[in-house]
């Protein structure tokens, strides 16, 4: 089970879907959801400078296009990886499947790409199986379709 997860997605309804799916699949006990990449950056900045390490999430799921934010999910991943410490498992969860964007995400340090759809559970089950590899930094970048 993943210790704690942070979801950054502008769609509130998906927060509920993701929370219920994680609970039903026993993926995590601690899930925090945010709707803005600016808010996520602010939290990571705080955790990086002064916050206790245990407050930081173990895994971060970031939407590609976060409406209402100053920057997109790939930029957020880059900031978390290169500006605020590279200690979390991080990747994209998006309905997009564009290879160009995926290449950008890899460059920013994303470890996985989950295609968002109505039936998210099978992808989360598969992701959970690969999770230890991501945590140990041994698993390659993978797209969950």
């Amino acid at each position: 089970m993943i210790d704690s997860i942070l979801l950054v997605d502008d769609e509130d309804l998906f927060h509920l879907v993701f929370e219920d799916a994680c609970s039903l699949l026993d993926i995590t006990l601690s899930l925090q959801s945010l709707t803005s990449s600016d808010e996520a950056e602010r939290l990571f900045k705080k955790w990086f400078r002064e916050g206790p390490a245990e407050e930081r999430p173990e895994c971060v799921f970031v939407d590609l296009n976060i409406i209402g934010s100053s920057f997109d999910g790939i930029e957020l991943i880059r900031k978390i990886n290169f500006e605020y410490g590279n200690h979390v498992v991080i990747g994209i969860i998006s309905s997009s499947n564009e290879s160009e964007e995926q290449a950008k995400a890899i460059n920013a340090g994303a470890q996985f790409w989950i295609i968002k759809s109505d039936d998210i559970e099978p992808r989360l089950i598969e992701f959970r199986k690969d999770y230890d590899g991501y945590k140990n930094r041994t698993a390659p970048f993978k797209i969950y379709k």
Partner: protein, 225 residues
């Protein structure tokens, strides 16, 4: 994991049995039954109930999400149609403006054609007038020519008459002179006398003939004019 004391366990189980109020969410996964069969059963039942609730909520959320997506698609399609309608309206307006412009141009062309027709009619009338004037000028010229010809003819006739009269007068005078000389000198006048009378007769006849011809010609010319 959390371990509960007996009093708390009993309260939780009693609350569930009497009021059907139970713990919910991930906290259930963190409680250790610690071998208590009743608590284990409570946790199993409430966890199952919590999962059912989450499943139902997940289904409802999915449906709402799907409807939301459909609404977004419809909105996009609607916006697209609105845009197309707007473009069509603009095109229609442009076409109408173009039609108005073409109508104005056609009206201008019609007026111009009418103006040109009027000019052509005026030109035709002017040409007709010019033709009539030319015909009149031709007639005047012909009349002038005829007058000149008549004048020339009269002059010629006048000259002929003058010459003929002079010839008559000359011949008459010479014959008369010769006859008078013969009479005065006592010469034989038989031949000259008959000659003089013949000549005078011929000359008078011719003179009257000439005068008659001239009068006839003059009369005919005046009648013709």
């Amino acid at each position: 994991m959390i371990k509960l004391d007996k009093k708390t366990k009993d309260q939780l189980i009693d609350l569930y049995k009497t009021k059907k109020v139970a713990l919910e969410g991930n906290i259930l996964k963190l409680i250790d039954p610690d071998g208590d069969v009743e608590l284990e059963s409570y946790l199993k039942e409430t966890t199952e109930k919590d999962k059912d609730t989450r499943r139902k909520r997940l289904e409802v959320t999915r449906k709402v999400q799907s409807q939301n997506n459909d609404l977004i698609k419809w909105k996009e399609e609607n916006e697209k149609i609105q845009l197309e309608l707007k473009e069509s309206l603009e095109q229609t307006e442009n076409s109408m403006k173009e039609m108005e412009f073409l109508k104005e141009e056609a009206e201008k062309a019609r007026l111009e054609a009418e103006r040109l027709k009027e000019e052509a009619d005026n030109a035709r009338l002017e040409a007709e007038n010019a033709r009539l004037e030319a015909e009149n000028a031709k007639k005047v010229a012909e009349n002038d020519l005829e007058l000149m010809q008549k004048k020339t003819q009269f002059e010629l006739i006048g000259t002929i008459v003058k010459v003929a009269l002079w010839v008559i007068l000359g011949v008459g005078g010479v014959t008369t002179g010769m006859y008078l000389i013969a009479l005065s000198t006592g010469l034989d006048t038989t031949v000259i006398g008959s000659t003089w009378s013949n000549i005078i007769g011929i000359l008078l006849t011719n003179a009257f003939s000439i005068v008659g011809t001239i009068m006839g010609v003059k009369y005919a010319s005046e009648k013709k004019d």
